[in-house]
């Protein structure tokens, strides 16, 4: 093991393996940035140039055969694209921006990545070090601003710091519970020449990415699971981030325990798996929400008991014992008191747990889920997917996409009603297929995130499902799609309303529709203005053909579906209500 502490107080372990760039070469800080990115396996980055980051862009120009830079139309687009890239690939997404407004425009996406544990590294230019604190042109304290929404951040003022800091940035972003890292580099550090050597970071003494697994906790968990009569698994994104999908499936199949998912956990287990009992939370499925308050054991795997999942904590699963498999110790007992916390990586934990579990089927308990599903099917799902009224429903659009993609598409959704419908009804037969802004609820996420997702997984069909409100928050990224020829499929479910807010106004504010009705532009013309094939559907009989045409397209395609204006999303757990008070209408 080798210690490295050139520029910082923090001790890090660096790779013993000699890197390709091990022989010191005299290069500029900006070239070093590119070399670091290449050494970390970065193939695509998203960004927007400007004064303080120009030296790095100059090097990008020289390295354009090795490293693709995607020019978005706004820095928010760059960070969301990097998030989409990370979410579908599991790799670190990279976004780059200049100082000042360029850097602050990244903040929403960084906050989104922080709350949804997405590994991204942001590189921002900064004014020269002698100007720091002088209110120089486009100077902003981006390290200060980004501190509460990054896993780690750092400002570089000397070129010699670049390799060590960037190595740390990638290591921190990706390891343990992933998250965003921002590295701010002053312009003089980009110009400065130094002897470049790159070593990957393999450890930081003050940082323990994944707690080691306590065998006793695993054993205790196994006893509870084996003795449970009505156990329920609720898994989250931790299963996907920890690449524990196979282990989850094995456990579910061996024990016969019904398994439900949080919005970010979707797709870790195929939608049609017989033991997949659907989504929990505010607009989740009826059965898993109701039965959360009937189960005798709640097994939470890689999820964090968000308030949108739990509803009122005072009445959440009070009758049940709780086992929490979790990589981040700060999440244990944060919202729900656990009986057994199994700290550590989800995959390792589940691997150790499986052999201790007894085979079971829990048939009677399953019947409860089936019975409640039948109620939801009759009262909600049938009407959503096969509506009899004249107007198109959001659900039938998703159903059509499911049918034509055979569940193989990655669905990138924005925020609002369409998101809940997309997450409820999309069929997934492979993991990392549900890309959405969960924790932060960032409208404008989907279009740029879909760009990143499609570029990271070009072999996959990527369909962005977006509402008419969120679409217009980042609509300019159509320019990126056009310029970089990203064959992403865009479906706007247009109800001429900020639908979710309107739904709340209807239900909780006596139908006072304050500022939720949208006068929308001609979306088809806008798409065509960007040379993107586009179609609008207003009638049910046009839908199947339009979706078929979209799916058949080799290029980007825009489909606007005008849906019923005032449909509501049900089931629904009212904010602050108990999960068992979930309403069907």
């Amino acid at each position: 093991m080798n210690f490295n502490s050139v520029s910082m107080e923090t001790q890090t372990i660096v790779s013993e393996k000699k890197s390709v760039y091990n022989n010191a070469e005299r290069i500029s800080g900006s070239e070093a940035v590119i070399r670091c990115l290449l050494a970390e396996g970065v193939d695509i980055l998203y960004g927007y140039p400007g004064g303080a980051i120009m030296p790095v862009y100059d090097e990008l120009f020289k390295y354009q055969n090795k490293l693709q830079h995607v020019l978005t139309r706004h820095e928010q687009g760059a960070i969301h694209a990097a998030q989409g890239y990370a979410r579908i690939s599991g790799k670190v997404g990279v976004a780059m921006a200049t100082s000042g407004p360029g850097a602050t425009n990244l903040i929403t996406g960084i906050a989104d990545a922080q709350i949804d544990s997405t590994p991204v590294v942001c590189i921002t230019g900064q004014v020269s070090s002698h100007l720091l604190g002088s209110d120089a042109f486009q100077e902003t304290d981006i390290v200060g601003i980004s501190t509460p929404v990054t896993k780690w951040n750092h400002q570089i003022t000397k070129a010699s710091e670049i390799p060590e800091v960037l190595a740390k940035a990638f290591y921190i972003a990706k390891s343990g519970r992933p998250g965003p890292v921002l590295i701010d580099i002053t312009k003089d550090a980009q110009f400065e020449e130094f002897d470049f050597i790159y070593n990957k970071c393999e450890g930081i003494r003050s940082y323990n990415p994944a707690p080691s697994i306590d065998v006793k906790a695993i054993q205790n968990a196994a006893v509870l699971i084996n003795n449970a009569k009505k156990p329920l698994i609720v898994w989250g994104q931790g299963v996907i981030l920890g690449q524990a999908e196979d282990q989850l499936k094995e456990i579910v199949e061996k024990t016969g325990i019904p398994a439900a998912w949080t919005i970010l956990g979707a797709s870790a287990l195929p939608t049609k798996h017989p033991l997949n009992v659907g989504m929990v939370g505010m607009h989740g499925n009826y059965a898993p929400n109701i039965l959360t308050n009937e189960c005798d054991l709640l097994i939470a795997i890689g999820m964090r008991f968000d308030d949108r999942v739990t509803g009122s904590l005072d009445t959440y699963a009070k009758q049940a014992k709780v086992i929490h498999f979790e990589i981040d110790p700060a999440e244990v007992d944060k919202n729900v008191k656990t009986d057994i916390a199994v700290l550590g990586d989800a995959k390792d934990s589940l691997l150790q747990l499986t052999p201790l579990l007894e085979k079971n089927s829990h048939d009677n308990w399953h019947q409860r889920f089936k019975d409640l599903y039948a109620i939801e099917l009759e009262k909600v799902i049938a009407g959503d997917l096969f509506p009899e009224k004249e107007g198109l429903s959001m659900g039938e659009v998703i159903r059509e996409i499911n049918q034509q993609s055979k569940g193989s598409a990655a669905i990138v959704s924005d925020v609002g009603q369409h998101q809940m419908v997309a997450c409820r009804y999309s069929e997934f037969n492979q993991t990392k297929s549900n890309i959405t802004s969960g924790g932060l609820g960032t409208m404008g996420f989907a279009l740029p995130a879909a760009i990143g997702a499609k570029m990271a997984a070009p072999h996959r069909e990527v369909v962005a499902i977006i509402g008419d409100g969120g679409y217009q928050m980042t609509i300019q990224e159509l320019g990126t799609i056009f310029q970089h020829k990203v064959p992403v499929k865009i479906v706007v479910l247009n109800n001429d309303f900020l639908g979710m807010v309107r739904q709340w106004q209807q239900l909780f504010f006596d139908k006072r529709y304050a500022s939720t009705e949208m006068a929308n532009p001609d979306f088809v013309s806008i798409a065509k203005g960007y040379y993107i094939d586009a179609k609008r559907v207003v009638k049910r009989e046009e839908l199947a053909n339009a979706v078929a045409e979209m799916m058949a397209s080799k290029d980007a395609y825009f489909l606007e579906v005008c849906v019923e204006k005032e449909d509501n999303v049900f089931p629904m757990i009212q904010s602050g209500a108990s999960v068992s008070e979930i309403r069907l209408c």
């Binding site: 390290v143 501190t147 003050s206 981040d328 110790p329 007992d333 944060k334």
Partner: protein, 175 residues
């Protein structure tokens, strides 16, 4: 309502720019006022130590410790009640030198309070007192009538009665 208490947070950290911000942000986002905060070197070479006093419930402080410890550059964080720590604050009074000779009272106060004269000039003298908050407040009250030119009090510094195994933790990393 959970019972609020004064807790002393001790966090062993790397000595990096911006970490103070990162730690104080954890309190800010929970709308918790920091009663006092101190950062210094620790018993371990190259490791800093934050001592933070907050008035919160035990449930809150546990979560806060989790959030502090989660920060990449924090090695370990603890919380303790007043009873579990030995703590002190330090203060300085700047007072007119004339008073020292004109009033016997001041001399008695200095002796009784166990405070120390740090320096005496023609114009002023500086009195230093270490102790707990109440002792310092008492001294302040006694000196006030004479006129205090300047007063400053430090944040709490505290050592814990229990052992903190930071050195072992760092040794484990090094191996």
């Amino acid at each position: 309502m959970a019972k609020l208490k004064s807790y002393t947070v001790s966090a062993y950290t790397e000595n990096n720019i911006g970490l103070l911000n990162r730690i104080s942000a954890i309190f800010q986002r929970r709308h918790i006022n920091i009663e006092s905060i101190n950062s210094s070197i620790s018993e371990i070479d190259g490791v800093s130590r934050f001592t933070i006093v907050v008035y919160v419930s035990e449930v809150q402080i546990k979560k806060i410790i989790g959030q502090i410890e989660k920060q990449v550059e924090v090695i370990k964080a603890y919380y303790h009640t007043d009873e579990e720590t030995v703590y002190q604050e330090s203060c300085l009074f700047k007072i007119k030198s004339d008073l020292l000779f004109e009033h016997d009272g001041i001399q008695n106060i200095i002796i009784e309070s166990n405070s120390k004269i740090v320096t005496v000039t023609k114009d002023f003298f500086v009195l230093e007192k270490s102790g707990n908050k109440e002792e310092i407040e008492l001294l302040y009250k006694k000196l006030s009538p004479f006129g205090i030119m300047q007063f400053v009090r430090s944040g709490r510094i505290a050592v814990t009665k229990e052992e903190m195994k930071i050195t072992e933790m760092l040794a484990a990393f090094n191996n």
